[in-house]
Amino acid sequence: MAVIYIDNRPYTVKDGQNLLQACLGLGFDVPYFCWHPALGSVGACRQCAVKQFKDEHDTRGKIVMSCMTPAADGVRISIDDPEVREFRASVIEWMMINHPHDCPVCDEGGECHLQDMTVMTGHVHREYNFPKRTFRNQNLGPLVNHEMNRCIHCYRCVRFYRQYAGGRDFDALAAHDHVYFGRSEDGVLENEFSGNLVEVCPTGVFTDKTLKRHYSRKWDLQTAPSICVHCGLGCNTIAGSRYGQLRRIRNRYNGEVNGYFLCDRGRYGYEFVTGDSRIEQPLARPERSAALERVARGEALQRAASFLRDRGRVIGIGSPRASLEANYALRRLVGPDRFYLGVSTEDYRMTAAALKILQAGPARSPSLKEVRMADAALVLGEDVTNTAPVLALALRQLVHPKADAAAKTFDLPSWSDAAIRELVQDEKESLFLATPAHTKLEDAACQTYHAAPDNLARLGFAVAHRIDPASPAVPDLAEEVDRLAEEIAAALVSAKRPLIVSGTGCCSEAMLQAAANVAWALCRRGNPALLSLVLPEANSIGLGLMGGGDLQSAFQALREERADTVVVLENDLYRRESAAAVDAALQLAKHVILIDHTRHAMAEKADLILPAATFAEESGTLVNSEGRAQRYYQVLLPKASVQPSWRWLGLLNEPASGTADEELFKLDGILADIAGELPQFRPILEIAPPSGFRMMGQKVPRQSPRSSGRTAIDAKENVSEPKPPEDPDSPLAFSMEGDEGLPPPALIPRFWAPGWNSDQAVNKFQAEIGGALRSGDPGKRLIEPQVGAQPDFFQTVPTVFEPHDGRLLLVPLYHIFGSEPLSALSRGIAELTSGRYVALHPADAAAQKIAEGDTVQLELDGISLELPVKIAASLPPGVAGLPSGLPGMEHVALPSWCTVTTILQTPPLAPPQNGEGVGGGVGAQS
């Protein structure tokens, strides 16, 4: 700890900080632009100037930049000194001479850091009477809007985009007062994290292009803490709505999870909530062959009750994209024996295997913060950029051993960004990637290895064997793979916090086992290895922990006539099993009830559809890949008949209670039931306060104190002020009335503090700047490692992958935009979604005289697909890639052997695109 003096008063601060961090952490308002807690200090904007004094007798002092000056013991500074205040106001003045002052038409207005800092410095009048500089703006694609004239040149965008996120198609161009932040030409930003520019930019240069279509000021939004539903990481978000419409998603800081950043799928995938595919009314068929018709809520419930009369004949199919509450409610409705998880046999097996590894082993599943703090990592089989994007961003931030050492040698503080980068140069962090084909993280990796899934697993087993010879040896290992294994093992062993990342992406249990062996071998040596397993969906782990059969077992129950009625919860079974299998099974069901919010192929098979709430219209709980249970809250009132799945299911469970009395089915009640019945979920009661929680006797308001309040929007129907809607499920109120104090971290509906209207207000919610939220980061881990456990190593090492004569092994390739179905319905994401294709290795293509762009027929397991070809040099020979889950693609169980025949050759027109254009690598945006 250090004692620093600010305007002659002593304060104790943590060691290793700069003065800006220290001052902000103490609650002082020091204005800044170029500094960012995740990006460090570079001293460019000169806004955070303070005056430093040599000692208590020094009255002159000198102006220093607080972001570049260590908060060392005994440092004396003044924030209030008139000379430094004048300087800070002048910095704003300089920035403003070219700023267009178009706040009324700027989307940033009202949550603009530049506005806040201008007010903070007291600058009000400018004498600049010359023409302002003008720039030409660029079209950066469907997600990010560009208005360069507003730029104040803090360089944060380019530092985030290039240095933090690894983007290459965006830079600082030109010089002097014409520095331009953009691309060399118009075009879609290639980086998956481009949306963070919207939050990183302190003013309105980069704004949310999707929000523009249904714009609202921040102060007029109802906001609530939410959780992203578009992958398994559970990034914390703030959902904002107005007039019953979801308007946007912003990052919600959680120091343990996503920190300051989201991926573009998470930020921009929300428009499905207001999309054309929403189910807003109960729909039913008068008879099996008739078309779906709207029915009243009461009638829908009556029909459901009649379908469910014989409970012993009902099975429930849950969903890893539905909340814990909804799945539990279904399980209670049908009984544990007749509850199925709604995933394919492969997914089921993979999730079970992952869970078992995390529960039985000594290796801890890391939070994303722990990933960022790891100092060596092996990624085995997973294209994390496309399956768990923010994990890829975290892997880019691994602690660089060289940075660590250099900082010590040169006595550099960790925030001294430019100086540390200079010492590290282009030297890669200890990141090893082993994936079937090229992935976008490779530019950050020190070694990459492309191979068939079995060979990737073999590499993992070989690494484990190198670390601990008690783990099985790998026979017939090629010499270069052995050398690579040795190098990886050495790096992991010498790391202080080694990390192994794998997942279900290759659908290879051997891959998970190999990853577990590596982590466990490290643990046995006393290296506290972290093991991060990527699971595909928002609640994959939650569902796995709940337990139940797979989809094939459900089909079997129908085939064996143990059931004739199916309740399907938020699940498109056609994405899980082959169309033939699903058709055959549903054919056997007398009644199919579908509870979902979005139309998909299942609607054609349902006799009754109950309109479910999306994440934005309900409160609930999701468990992320780390095993962290997190609560999300309703942010808007659903359309008339829409309600949370768990509430529908509660009503179905107790038909006696009739159609009106929903009070029975509150979130608190179902949470208590889950925790009471399933001890593995007991911590979910602690992740957030119950609905009865009050601050100073009041709820936490979803609207800001500056909300415009009433509008005339409903005046055509009713001129009297309606009572704000009730929220029986949470301590949040649909109102601007309530307590404005600091709410418990899980309930923070927005980051705002007096004088801090932008998201930078998060400073005021942290005990230490860039650290945990005050009172701790939200969420509770449901899985803890068995400390000291020494589970037996997995023994089954796959044999060397052999290309089959005439057949190719088809493996899944993932696309951040397109592989996840809900986000793919959002307009911006849809524009960036890749077309269907099959990726072939050049040698395999040449063997059959197939060229890029040819159409081929793929035969596998009785399924036949016609697809255009992309040539991918990074694929191993004998392996072909099929994009996973793209809209319109039939479900194919992968990996699987296939044959390829040409059916249409394209004339040799365009030269082949980038050979690596498979997966979300490059192809997604080409």
Binding site: R46, A49, H176, D177, A419, L423
Partner: protein, 424 residues
């Protein structure tokens, strides 16, 4: 009078080739150093000589070298860089050395590199110095041929590779850390210190950046000794100095004179005094980024400490003379136009403040100035001062402005009062 730096330079004639250079004692210092001196001894001699950096800041050269980490634990490779990005308005001294006697620089670089045990050396050359580039490339090739560069120089275990790098052409590349970024292929923006380039310079390794003239002195110091060098000077700062004069003097040019030669002597004896019909008004003693000096300062000695006492800086030692027939406002406007254009755009005060001052000066010069403009200029002169901007570019740009406001206030006011430039 001894003129070690320019004795080989014959205006209008090609630079001496390696053989000629060797005939005049060239590369003797390298032989002596590699055979007789340890790197520490060599650094010690340069320290004793009181050689101070000729790029403008005047930092003692030997001390600078001594900050480079030596021995087994030092990060390798280490680098020596000759800053030949001479872009200071008014300066042309390095050009004369580069074009006139390239081997002198190369020899100085070998010595400096040996002193810090650098493995590689770069000459970072101003883009427009085409003649110098040709001369240097030829000389470097000769030097490799003769075994003064490359592996096992003169049979010793020391090796050095030397590269000529031509800048893409920005003033900020002359700032040593901006130069290093440019050399690495990055945007030429300066770096914050610490760490200093001596410990974390080019590609994060120990690096010395020295001005061309500084390096050219080193062979003579090694050959003739520190004491000889100190005695060349009339004052405490050792050696001779290249002094230049431009403006409406009778004989604009460049002269090697003892360090500390008074301004009046340079102006009147060497530059031949003012041209007929014009009178001396003021001068910038060391290039565009130094404060004006006036008539009262003509007896100031041109060395680092004397010029500083007079309220300006020796800078490059190349004087720009202002006469009574030239508008001082126009002159300052022209200088600020240069600085505003050459700002790298990294820090706010420089990027936005310099163009603002330039625009105000343009308006005043065009007869559209307001009295309040002078306060605005004075405010900028203060707010763009040292420590407030990221590097020294803007503070340097403010030096001629602040002194102009002091010495030529009446001229500024006349522009505003008469709504025109009295000189036009």
């Amino acid at each position: 009078m001894e003129r070690p730096l320019t004795s080989n330079i014959k205006p209008g004639q090609p630079a001496p080739d390696l053989a000629e250079y060797e005939r005049s004692g060239g590369y003797e210092a390298v032989r002596k150093a590699l055979r007789e001196l340890t790197p520490a001894q060599l650094t010690g001699i340069v320290k004793d000589s009181n050689l101070r950096g000729r790029g403008g800041a005047g930092f003692p050269t030997g001390s600078k070298w001594s900050f480079v980490p030596m021995g087994e634990t030092a990060l390798r490779p280490k680098y020596l860089v000759a800053n030949a990005d001479e872009m200071e308005p008014g300066a042309f001294k390095d050009r004369v050395l580069l074009e006139g006697d390239p081997h002198q620089l190369i020899e100085g670089m070998i010595l400096a590199a040996y002193a810090i045990q650098a493995e590689a050396a770069y000459i970072f050359l101003r883009e427009e110095y085409k003649q110098a580039e040709r001369t240097l490339r030829k000389a470097v090739a000769e030097t490799y041929q003769a075994g003064y560069l490359g592996k096992n120089i003169l049979g010793s275990s020391y090796r050095l590779e030397l590269y000529v790098h031509v800048s893409a052409g920005r003033y900020i590349c002359g700032e040593e850390s901006g130069l290093l970024n440019a050399l690495e292929g990055k945007r030429a923006i300066p770096r914050s210190r610490p760490p200093f380039p001596q410990t974390s310079g080019l590609w994060g390794k120990g690096t010395i950046v020295n001005n061309v003239e500084t390096l050219c002195n080193v062979p003579h110091i090694v050959r003739n000794g520190a004491e000889w060098f100190r005695k060349l000077s009339l004052t405490g700062d050792g050696g001779t100095k290249l002094y230049g004069a431009s403006g409406k003097v009778k004989r604009p040019g460049l002269w090697e004179l003892p360090m500390g030669t008074p301004i009046r002597e340079i102006l009147e004896e060497h530059a031949g005094g003012m041209r007929d019909g014009v009178r001396f008004r003021a001068l910038l003693p060391g290039g565009a980024s130094t404060d004006f000096l006036t008539e009262e300062h003509l007896d100031v000695r041109m060395d680092f400490s004397s010029v500083e006492k007079a309220g300006s800086r020796l800078g490059t030692g190349t004087m720009i003379i202002l006469d009574d027939k030239t508008c001082p406002v126009g002159m300052v406007h022209n200088l600020e136009l240069f600085f505003a254009r050459e700002s790298c755009g990294w820090c706010t005060p420089c990027r936005e403040g310099l163009p603002w001052t330039e625009k105000i000066l343009r308006e005043i010069e065009a007869g559209r100035g307001r009295t309040s403009d002078l306060d605005r200029l004075a405010l900028h002169a203060r707010l763009l001062g040292p420590g407030r901007t990221f590097c020294a570019l803007a503070p340097g740009a403010m030096e001629p402005l602040q002194s102009a406001l002091k010495y030529f206030r009446e001229d500024f006011e006349r522009h505003i009062r008469e709504k025109r430039c009295p000189w036009s």
